[in-house]
Amino acid sequence: MPKNSILQIQKISRVIRLLILLVAVIHIGSFFLAAFNTEEKSLSHQVELKQGDTTYSAMAEMTGTGVDLAMKLNNEGLNGLIIVGIADILMYGFIYFFIYQLFSLYQQGQIFTLANISCIKNIGRTLFAWFLVSLTYPILVVLIIRFIELSDTLPLMLSVTSDDLIHLLSGLVILVISWIMSEAMRLQEEQELVI
């Protein structure tokens, strides 16, 4: 690979890495800040922090499969945003972590290495797992709530939204890309043995 391309990858990776860190902190931080700092039980929480003339605002809003369940949990007096949203936040956390790790490796100039491929595979697996979690987590939550007798009126729900299908499709595409990268690594190793 030309040296200029590697330098370009390293330079851009540094920026992307910082952006991922920033987005992850804002995203995950605002979720916890908003979810734990409100009296109001709704699916859209906003928290404002005032420091002098500056106001910092954090907002967490629930979308996707768990909305119905979260609303019902709210009606039962529970915090639907935390109970249902924690699964999504956990998945986002994993995705941010693996993408950050991947771009850290790119920043070090490691392009076709086992560590990179493993990161890409993990991103694909997480997205695939996200689809499965979206399907099973609401059922699991309802079963646990019924089991510990917090509520017996919550219905068992199984739903698939376009977000879930996007996770499934992205996961599969990224897994295929990781296999292609494995093949690229094998070719690179072979190329190094061509004199």
Binding site: E190, L193, V194, I195
Partner: protein
């Protein structure tokens, strides 16, 4: 593998060091060492041409074939 690299034999015949050959054919001594030890997967015609020119030999002097089958 059935293809045997006889580069060390040719280097000995020409009383030449690996590093000198590497410098003459413009490849790294590490790569030439990979070729000499038989770990290389392939050799470019341009490399073979340069080696043959430098060692005043033909490709058959560097690459030989030995049948793996033991009867």
């Amino acid at each position: 593998m059935a293809i045997i690299i006889e580069l060390d034999v040719m280097l000995a015949k020409r009383k030449m060091k690996l590093n000198d050959l590497a410098a003459a054919v413009n490849i790294t001594p590490q790569n030439l060492s990979v070729l000499k030890s038989g770990r290389a997967k392939a050799i470019r015609f341009s490399t073979l041409d340069a080696i043959c020119q430098c060692l005043q030999c033909v490709p058959g002097d560097i690459l030989t074939y030995a049948n793996d089958d033991t009867e």
